[in-house]
């Protein structure tokens, strides 16, 4: 990805990015971001983008970038790759911008694109790695895993480490459904809307995925 090339050194400053973007457009953008007339509503902003004010897309990205990162960071721990994934999501949203009909909020539409980008990412990862990364687990995570009666709270990053290692045994679809249902605590209806799978498929897949994850974790415990 191009962002990887950009990030060979330190992340580009705002000024560098503006310089790359082109002086005239950058000036226009700066004016837009500092906003002589702030647009509070997404719908109005979208109308302006459709009318040709493409620079305004930066404002739309700025508004929703945290939300997209919050969805995607569950599937990618490396910050640079996460940023590539988020860029990819916004690029896909731009390319299919014409298909956004405004019936649902823009954020819902963008969430669907982010979830599908995450699924594609998991599929690519699955092709390159299949083994449980037992060696990657820290000592505390291993200790918690091996101790049946452990009552202490598990640290979030340790839990993530264990889950990432065990989830590599699962299919991308299983990983996605478990993340959405069990970690993000979303309802079956929400998952169905985000993925496009029917609610029965979501329920069945979640049940099976949970059983497979349990098995994978038991495999880790025995090691």
């Amino acid at each position: 990805m191009t962002a990887v090339a950009i990030y060979l050194g330190a992340p580009p400053s705002r000024r560098q990015a503006l310089a790359c973007f082109g002086e005239r457009r950058a000036d226009k953008l700066k004016r837009g971001l500092q906003s002589e007339r702030p647009v509070s509503d997404d719908a109005e902003l979208i109308e302006r983008i459709r009318a040709g004010a493409h620079e305004e897309y930066a404002e739309l990205v700025r508004r929703h970038q945290s939300h997209v990162f919050a969805i995607l960071y569950r599937y990618e721990r490396d910050h640079h790759r996460l940023e590539d994934l988020a860029q990819d999501t916004f690029l896909k949203a731009w390319r299919s911008f014409a298909q956004f009909d405004g019936r649902a909020p823009f954020q819902h539409w963008l969430s669907k694109i982010a979830v599908h980008a995450a699924l594609d990412h998991l599929r690519k990862q699955k092709r390159s790695q299949n083994e449980i990364g037992f060696a990657e687990l820290g000592e505390d995570a291993l200790d918690w895993l091996h101790n049946e009666d452990k009552q202490t709270d598990l640290d979030a990053s340790q839990a993530r480490e264990i889950l990432s290692a065990a989830m590599r045994k699962l299919s991308p679809e299983d990983q996605l459904v478990l993340t959405l249902l069990e970690i993000e605590d979303r309802s079956g209806k929400e998952i169905s809307a985000l993925t496009g799978w029917n609610p029965v498929t979501v329920r069945v897949r979640a049940l099976r995925a949970r059983a497979r994850l349990k098995k994978a974790l038991e495999g880790l415990e025995k090691k």
Partner: protein, 95 residues
């Protein structure tokens, strides 16, 4: 691995704070767009998809109006089969 332990694992993972986007991320996205400017134009199926509920409603209304119109007009004038039988009677008489 029992269910309690698995649920503990899920809820702990759910507490992880999301990574924040770097400053100027939106500008990187715009650079990407500039390098890959292709934006999907609206296809006929996109337009139909966007208009689907409204188009379906209009089509149903038009069909209903046609059916009602036909019903009303047919109550005043003789039906097609009546007219056909009348014509055939006339032809028989003439022959």
């Amino acid at each position: 691995m029992n269910d309690r332990k698995l649920n503990q694992l899920f809820s702990a993972a759910g507490r992880e704070k999301p990574a924040a986007p770097a400053d100027g991320f939106e500008l990187l996205v715009l650079q990407q767009i500039q390098r890959n400017p292709a934006r999907a134009e609206l296809t006929i199926s996109d337009v139909l998809g966007m208009w689907f509920p409204r188009l379906a409603l209009v089509a149903a209304t038009v069909i209903a109006l046609c059916v009602v119109g036909d019903f009303v007009s047919s109550s005043d004038s003789p039906s097609l089969s009546d007219s056909a039988s009348q014509l055939s009677d006339q032809m028989l008489v003439e022959n």
